[in-house]
Symmetry: C2
Subunit: 217 residues, 2 copies
C-alpha cells in the first residue's frame, strides 16, 4: 500500500518539525493553540472575540492558514494584532514546516499566545501535529448535532470543544444534550464551551480555560 507508506513518511517528517516547534515555543514560554473547524463555523470571529477578551493581559499573534486569499489575516490585523498568512496553495491542512516559517517572522520573546487558524476542514488537519500545546475545535450550531458521529477523529484529538453560534439555536433543530453526550463518549476529558462569538454569550468560560493554560506556559 504505497499510499499508506507515504502517508506515514510525511507524518514522520511532519512530527519531527512539530517536536522542534514545540521545543522552541516552550523555551520562549509561548503557548500555541491550533484551531480546527469546518469552513464557516466562525473560526475567525471566535479568534477575534478571544483576542479582545485576552489582549489586555497577554501578547497575542495569529497564524492564518488558508488555501487562498488573505481575508482572515486582514481581519486580524485590523484589530492591531500581528498576523501571518499561510496560503497552502490547495493543500487541505497546515503542516509543521509551514508553522516554522511563520514562527520565524514573529517576535517570540514578546509573545504569550499564538493562535493558529487551520484550513477549514474537519478531516485532514486532525492528523497533523504542528507543535501546538492544544488542538481546540469549533462546531457551529447550523452544522447540526450529528457531527460527532460523522467526524469522530477531530472530536477525539481536541483538548476542548467550542460550540459556536448558540444564539442561532432557535432557528436550527439542534439537540444540545445529544451533541454533548456524543462528544463525551468520544472524548470524556474535553470540556465543551457553548458560546456565541457574535454576542459574547458564554465566551468567558472558554477564555478563562485558555488563560489558565497560557499562564502555565
Amino acid at each position: 500500500m504505497a499510499h499508506i507508506d507515504l502517508e506515514t513518511k510525511i507524518l514522520n517528517k511532519n512530527d519531527e518539525g512539530a517536536v522542534a516547534n514545540r521545543a522552541l515555543l516552550d523555551e520562549k514560554g509561548v503557548y500555541m493553540v491550533n484551531v480546527l473547524a469546518s469552513p464557516g463555523s466562525g473560526k475567525t470571529s471566535t479568534i477575534v472575540a478571544t483576542i479582545n477578551a485576552l489582549r489586555d493581559k497577554y501578547n497575542i499573534a495569529v497564524i492564518e492558514g488558508d488555501i487562498a486569499s488573505s481575508v482572515d489575516a486582514e481581519k486580524i490585523k485590523a484589530q492591531g494584532i500581528a498576523a501571518v498568512q499561510i496560503n497552502t496553495g490547495g493543500a487541505c491542512h497546515l503542516e509543521s514546516a509551514m508553522i516554522k516559517r511563520a514562527i520565524d517572522v514573529l517576535d517570540l520573546e514578546r509573545l504569550d499566545l499564538i493562535i493558529v487558524e487551520n484550513v477549514g476542514n474537519l478531516v485532514c488537519p486532525t492528523d497533523f501535529d504542528l507543535g501546538e500545546n492544544a488542538k481546540v475545535m469549533i462546531l457551529s450550531v447550523p452544522e447540526g448535532d450529528d457531527k460527532p458521529l460523522k467526524y469522530p477523529g477531530v472530536f477525539q484529538v481536541s483538548e476542548a470543544v467550542i460550540l459556536n453560534k448558540v444564539d442561532t439555536m432557535p432557528v436550527f433543530n439542534f439537540n444540545q444534550e445529544a451533541f454533548e453526550e456524543s462528544v463525551n463518549q468520544l472524548n470524556p476529558q474535553a470540556p465543551i464551551f457553548p458560546l456565541s462569538a457574535t454576542t459574547g454569550e458564554g465566551l468567558e468560560a472558554w477564555t478563562s480555560w485558555l488563560a489558565e493554560r497560557i499562564r502555565k506556559a
Copy 2:
C-alpha cells in the same frame, strides 16, 4: 517532490476508474451527480428534498460517503430510496474505486439518477473524478459569503452552485450579491440556485435544471 509524484499517480489510477464508471453509467443511461459541500451545509436535506421533487418521474439511488457512521444512508432509506453507505475509514474524500463497488450493488437497468453525497469537505473531493456527469456544490448561508475567495477550487469545478438555508438569511450577515459576484468570477458558466431544503423555497429551479440533464442521459 515525492508527495506531488505520488499524488499524480493516485489521481491517474483514480481517473482510470472514473472513466470506467462513466462508460458503464452512460451505457445504462444513468445520470450521476457528485454533491460536494462542508459538513453541516445541508447535503442530506437537499438530497432528500430533491428526491421528493423527482421521485414520481425518475428512479433514484443514493451513494453516501462518510468517514464513519451510516446516519445519512438511514435517512435516505427511510424515504424508501435505495442507499449504499461507503465508510472511508478516515479518508477525506471518495474515490472512483469506492463508487465502483457501490454501483455494483445497485440495479443500474432500473435507475435514472444516482446522487453521490461526498464526504463533508470543501477541499479534497474537488480533485477526485468519480465518473460523475456533474459535480454540484452546496454552500449554506451560515458559512458566510466570503467562501468563494477562500475555497476557490470547489467553486471552479462545479457545474452548478446551490446556496442553501436562504430561510436563515435574516439571522446571518450574508451579502448575496457579493457572493454571486465572486462565484461568477470564478465560474461564469455555473448557475447559482438559492434555496431552502427545509422550506422548499427555490427548490424548483434546481430540480428542473437536474431533470433536464437526467432526460439527456
